[in-house]
């Protein structure tokens, strides 16, 4: 009896599941076409923009967001795997700039129409334009642009006599931290952020990690890691790790922002999210107002006194999937997403700086982010990471040889890494 009852329950369940399955196959849903926007995780800003643009389209399309993994390298992996299988469900994607050449070379991006390119790059900061392009052509649409600043605790720096209103060098920052028995929070973890740091140091010293990307022939890539600028960069990394605190080799942006907020580090090089974070902590009552007031900011440190630094450039650009059935609509939606109004709103609510320069002078933005002018200046000077279709190989090779930074041999690490990258691209070595 019991068996029979169970069998009936099971049969009913199977029938119900089959019906649901059949209902799911019943043709396309009614209403406007749905555009899938694959976004990187944020505080909900992109979803809000999607809703706003859906409303503004007057029924021409509906944007739905799907969230990608947290790490940018994992975002790339997921998108690439889907696009390699010609996934037509990807209409719009939020892409981290260093991976754009790879997407473009593989033919994963629908070409940007000339008029869209003109309209979306008008008044956009240099670094974002550079980061959205490949081979001199715009292949994605700049959305928001990020850059790192040098953050300092005003009270601790005051005791060292360092004048932060003038540009400072890495050596000065290291010496000040040593004098105060404090630390510098930089990203010493074996992750993408280590490459970001090295690239900023090499570019600030006038060098380049990849001097000729050679997209047609990966084995012909030329590297600048044996240059004096690269050696100086490695020296700075090693010196910073000596004053980086005990957990330096595992410190990422989040750990650094915590250490700085707690007062354990007197300096940090980090993205502007740290400001939004401390502000909300003050609002929640977990951090004193005095801590917020103690935050100071300046342009990224110089490698040698008198030379203009090239701070890290990050952010997100929007690509339209090459296999999307709605490329035109997707570009319409993209233009709506990157409108000045949305960029400003996104900056204000999520703390991610805009790609358009005009946003930084907006009174509302300046009130919320008093460092907005410094961010704007930093973005104009910022340099993207090496632009090559093999970026992830370059970055992983760097992470392998430059980590842990305390143990590197400054003159030797650059040439060794260059040799590794060449061997990896020639498929003679594993990574």
């Amino acid at each position: 009896m019991r068996h029979a009852r169970w069998r009936r329950v099971l049969a009913a369940g199977v029938a119900a599941a089959a019906l649901v399955g059949l209902a799911g196959c019943g043709g396309a849903p009614a209403g406007p076409p749905v555009l899938n926007w694959y976004i990187n995780p944020d505080d909900g800003g992109q979803a809000e923009i999607a809703a706003a643009c859906t409303a503004a389209s007057n029924g021409a399309y509906r944007i739905e967001v799907s969230t990608l993994p947290r790490q940018s390298s994992e975002q790339r992996q997921q998108l690439i795997r889907r696009l390699a299988a010609n996934d037509s469900s990807i209409d719009i994607m939020s892409i981290d700039p260093p991976y754009i050449p790879e997407f473009a070379e593989a033919g994963f991006l629908a070409p940007v129409p000339q008029d869209v390119a003109q309209r979306t790059t008008a008044g956009v900061v240099n670094s974002a334009k550079e980061g959205a392009s490949w081979n001199g052509e715009l292949v994605t649409v700049p959305f928001w642009a990020n850059t790192q600043l040098l953050w300092y605790r005003t009270s601790q720096v005051a005791a060292t006599g360092l004048d932060m209103s003038k540009p400072v060098t890495w050596d000065q920052v290291i010496a000040a931290a040593q004098r105060q028995n404090s630390t510098i929070a930089a990203q010493g973890i074996r992750a993408e952020s280590l490459t970001v740091w090295l690239n900023a140091l090499v570019e600030s010293g006038g060098g380049e990690i990849v001097t000729n990307p050679s997209p047609e022939d990966p084995e012909g890539v030329e590297l600048g890691l044996d240059s004096p600028a690269a050696t100086k960069a490695a020296e700075i990394m090693k010196n910073v790790s000596a004053v980086g605190g005990p957990g330096f080799s595992t410190a990422s942006e989040d750990e650094n922002s915590n250490a700085f907020q707690a007062g354990d580090a007197m300096f940090q090089v980090n993205w502007p999210f740290v400001w939004g974070k401390v502000k909300s902590a003050v609002e929640d009552g977990t951090v004193d107002q005095a801590t917020l007031d103690d935050f100071g900011w300046a342009i990224y440190p110089q490698v040698t006194a008198g030379t203009r630094p090239a701070p890290p450039y990050g952010g997100i650009n929007l690509g339209v999937g090459a296999f999307s059935p709605h490329v035109d609509l997707a570009y319409d939606a993209t233009e709506c997403i990157v409108s000045e109004e949305n960029q400003k709103q996104y900056f204000l609510t999520n703390g991610n700086p805009a790609a358009k320069t005009s946003v930084f002078t907006d009174p509302e933005v300046v009130e919320e982010f008093p460092m907005a002018p410094v961010i704007a200046q930093s973005l104009q000077q910022a340099k993207p990471r090496p632009q090559t279709a093999y970026y992830s190989e370059v970055s992983e090779s760097i992470q392998r040889n430059y980590h842990p930074t305390a143990g590197i041999d400054p003159p030797g690490v650059g040439p060794a890494t260059a040799a590794l990258i060449k061997a990896v691209l020639a498929k003679e070595e594993l990574l």
């Binding site: 795997r81 994963f108 005990p246 498929k427």
Partner: protein, 320 residues
């Protein structure tokens, strides 16, 4: 695939003595056997053999997922690249280290726990078994995160609890060096999978006939003598199964390393290496070759265990 086995005395072995044609009944039973086992066999081929064959095939090509127009046949070149690269040997060494350390510790600990479960009072036995099994029910990634948080510098409590141990200080960065990272990785693995091994050993312990124990006791054997001469030899098959399963499991360790160090400080394992070539670098050819080598290592371990222990697995299943 065990469905093809038939009960002694009713199957074709009994109906068809060697040298003679099988009877009609035996033939129809054989046919029925194939009909029953056939679909399972086909599914097995589809889900296990097909990916293996595909991996072997891809491993002979230079194939990058983002550059599908430039696939070229390179023969065994991918294997040559891997086997001459120190990264492979470091990963292999790390994997062997984790396997040997965790399995050895787990065997001793698991055996002790099995004895406790076996001899515990009947009333508390179910509670005890449930308590011991909890770590095994925890998802590996979750346990890896839990242990990572416990040992990390900012959120961890280990440093403050154990700062009286020599070598542990308030600022010990466990994930900053190879051996300290491997120590935490092994610890998390041991915590997680000791229950599994102890459960298998408990099954083995329960199989040792009581009459043998009693006979030994009557002969005046001490506890140790009974353990070494009666209990352990009689549960050889169970020990082998426990060791084999755990060794294979440990050799494929991935999640814990991925969460805790992401391969930093030379803590990369072989499956992590395969993941990075295939998923991160999208080099399908190279990655497949690493996967095939991992598969071959697992086969070698399997054969080694079965030959080394001289245990007939079908006997362990009680078929003969």
């Amino acid at each position: 695939m065990t469905t093809t086995s038939v009960k002694p005395g009713t199957g074709d072995t009994a109906a068809s003595p060697a040298g003679r044609d099988p009877s009609d009944r035996a033939r129809s039973e054989q046919r029925l056997g194939w009909m029953l086992a056939g679909p399972a066999f086909a599914v097995m081929l589809l889900v296990t053999a097909y990916p293996i064959v595909q991996a072997v095939w891809y491993s002979l090509f230079d194939y990058r997922l983002t550059d599908p127009d430039n696939i070229s046949f390179v023969g065994l070149n991918n294997y040559a690249v891997i086997l001459t690269d120190e990264i492979w040997w470091i990963s292999f060494g790390v994997t062997v280290f984790i396997t040997v350390v965790t399995v050895a510790v787990e065997l001793v600990l698991g055996f002790a726990l099995a004895l406790v479960m076996m001899n515990a009072l009947k009333a508390i036995r179910p509670v005890l078994r449930a308590a011991i099994l909890i770590p095994y029910a925890v998802i590996t990634v979750v346990s890896a995160f839990a242990w990572q948080y416990a040992f990390s510098l900012d959120s961890g409590f280990v440093n403050s609890w154990f700062d009286w141990v020599p070598g542990v200080a308030a600022d010990t960065d466990w994930f900053g060096g190879t051996f300290s990272s491997l120590f935490v990785i092994c610890l998390a693995e041991i915590w997680k999978t000791t229950p599994f091994i102890s459960l298998l050993l408990l099954a083995g312990l329960a199989q040792v006939p009581d009459v043998l124990q009693e006979a030994a006791r009557v002969d005046g054997a001490t506890w140790w003598q009974r353990m070494w001469k009666v209990t352990i030899p009689n549960m050889k098959a169970a020990i082998m199964v426990a060791l084999l399963f755990r060794t294979l499991d440990a050799f494929r360790v991935f999640d814990t390393v991925f969460v805790m160090t992401n391969g930093a400080n030379d803590t990369e394992t072989v499956s992590f290496l395969a993941y990075r070539q295939t998923i991160a670098r999208v080099e399908i050819g190279l990655g497949s070759a690493v996967s095939v080598l991992l598969f071959l290592s697992v086969v070698v371990i399997c054969v080694g265990f079965i030959k080394g222990f001289k245990v007939d697995l079908s006997q362990a299943r009680g078929e003969k």
